[in-house]
């Protein structure tokens, strides 16, 4: 599977896609490129970094709401109500925005970014797309009585706890998971694309239903997982309850088909984000979730006058495995 950008009908650039579709028992249903391609999970790991909130009793302890849990799994758009929800959660656990160690950045939504730039809104750590995840990590620390300082460091019990969940859901021993520092400062985990897909499959129908709380939060609040006009939100809204999707930085995209219980993970080898969106939408369409929103199936390439002079779209399909479904 390639994502190709063409100009005047001639292909100009190519993005290679490595993808795996996996059942909860680990069968490879379909693939593209190399399903064993190892890369960092980035924000695709967020549902599993949020898992200790459910498993360790943090939700009950702090009476966390479903929208708050959804935000812990999100790469949100820094929309005002999303930022407010994060601040509410911080207050609830006895923390403030000063405890957040994620750096701020322009909102992932261009519309929101432009609005804040025009209005001169000062971007603080709560505006980070990862601020929900960080607030969840602080809640985990508070719950266990761990220090909230330095919660992003690899040797902090919060990060150790996240690693243990990543290892469990990906069925990969901790010792075989390489880690590095994510864009927001916490640990990120290198695993094969196939194992990312397995984790999402198990989220739906595996581990004795332990993933159901996360799935429920994500499908009920797609507008919190990304934001207005962003791909994860649009993909989940197009087929309500049928799919969970979660973008990761550097060309990662993951998902779960709730009915089939199939996990999906893909990586655009060169890390191109728009190509990953197109690859994910095409994959969902191929697996039966049709139609996908038209703006996720091809993207126009404009010149500096704004006239369309080319487009980016997927070329190729998944290869079905003979022993798959």
């Amino acid at each position: 599977m390639l994502v190709e950008a063409s100009r005047g009908g001639v292909v100009e650039t190519r993005h290679r896609v490595h993808a795996a579709v996996v059942s909860p028992d680990g069968r490879l249903i379909a693939r593209a490129g190399d399903p064993d391609f190892v890369t960092f999970w980035r924000s695709g790991a967020k549902p599993f970094q949020a898992m200790p909130l459910l498993l360790d009793g943090v939700i009950e302890h702090f009476a966390m709401t479903v929208p708050e849990l959804a935000l812990c799994c999100a790469s949100h758009s820094s929309e005002p109500h999303q930022v407010q929800l994060v601040r509410d959660l911080l207050a609830k656990i006895g923390c403030t925005e000063r405890d957040l160690l994620c750096g701020p950045h322009p909102p992932l939504s261009e519309r929101v970014a432009q609005d804040y730039a025009t209005r001169g809104v000062r971007l603080t750590p709560a505006y980070s797309n990862c601020s929900g995840k960080h607030a969840g990590m602080l809640a985990l620390a508070r719950h266990h009585g761990w220090p909230v300082e330095r919660y992003t460091r690899g040797d902090h019990p919060v990060q150790q706890r996240c690693l243990s969940e990543v290892a469990r859901w990906t069925a990969t021993p901790e010792s075989r998971i390489a880690t590095a520092v994510d864009g927001c400062g916490v640990r990120t985990f290198a695993v094969p694309v196939r194992n990312m897909a397995l984790a999402y499959a198990k989220l739906g129908k595996g581990e004795g239903g332990k993933g159901s709380g996360v799935v429920d939060a994500m499908v009920r609040f797609p507008e919190l997982i990304a934001g207005e006009g962003r791909p994860c939100t649009d993909m989940m809204r197009a087929h309500p309850g049928r799919v969970v999707t979660k973008v990761g930085a550097a060309g990662v995209y993951c998902g779960l088909l709730t009915r089939e219980g199939w996990g999906i993970a893909l990586k655009v080898e060169d890390g191109n984000g728009p190509a990953a969106v197109l690859a994910m939408a095409a994959t969902l369409a191929e697996l039966g979730l049709r139609p996908q929103p038209a703006h996720l199936m091809s993207q126009p390439i404009p010149n500096t006058r704004g006239e369309p002079v080319g487009e980016m779209r997927v070329n190729g399909t998944l290869e079905r495995e003979k022993n798959g479904a």
Copy 2:
């Protein structure tokens, strides 16, 4: 040859490079990936789109200066003096900025872009990085008495004349050159990477020295070909007179080693610009132009707090051809 971005020492994304190093008589000296990879030349074609200015007597007709010719070959940074030079050239040929059909865009130099944003400078077509090329095309039209209207259209004699030069220098019949609309609205040309390299080789030592005027302008005014702190300018300044380099959009980079007369062209398959810069600097270093500026040999990857958490650099080398030099 790959350009790899790693995080915590683990490779996260990969960019494939197709490259050719060619002598003026067409011998392949070295390669990476597929030297016959066909793609759009984009701004790598500018020296050849400027060629009619020399060959048709436009320079003499309008008493064009060497800096003006250099700007016609440039993807400039929209620095104030560069924009002024373009306006001077337009005045000289009896045109105004209103004749320019290139759309404006934020300056390619981040420093200049930020400065203009802070000061609220209105970006007009003369600020396009291609405004020198467009002014040159208008000069060509004026010289020949062709209409200046619609000079960007494929059927306009200006674009036909450019196509004929591209065909000549790349040794590719016009009928075999696919065209499309470039980012700035004029025609762009799809040719194999190897033929792009051949054109640059001939620019130095071919076609009976017809390219010497362009080479002279580019090596004498590297600050006009890109701008302060931009890669083409830095590469040419690092080895004065020894090298011409010219970036193109979507991962294209071209160059000429003036002493050897070797042409170089490369394309990052996925169009990644920073990867193309690293690939070009590594290629120049490998071909003997050492040292290259350190910031062109590896690029740090920061997190949102600005701390370096990874780096991008070239992995691999050119393959020398047995029958090459």
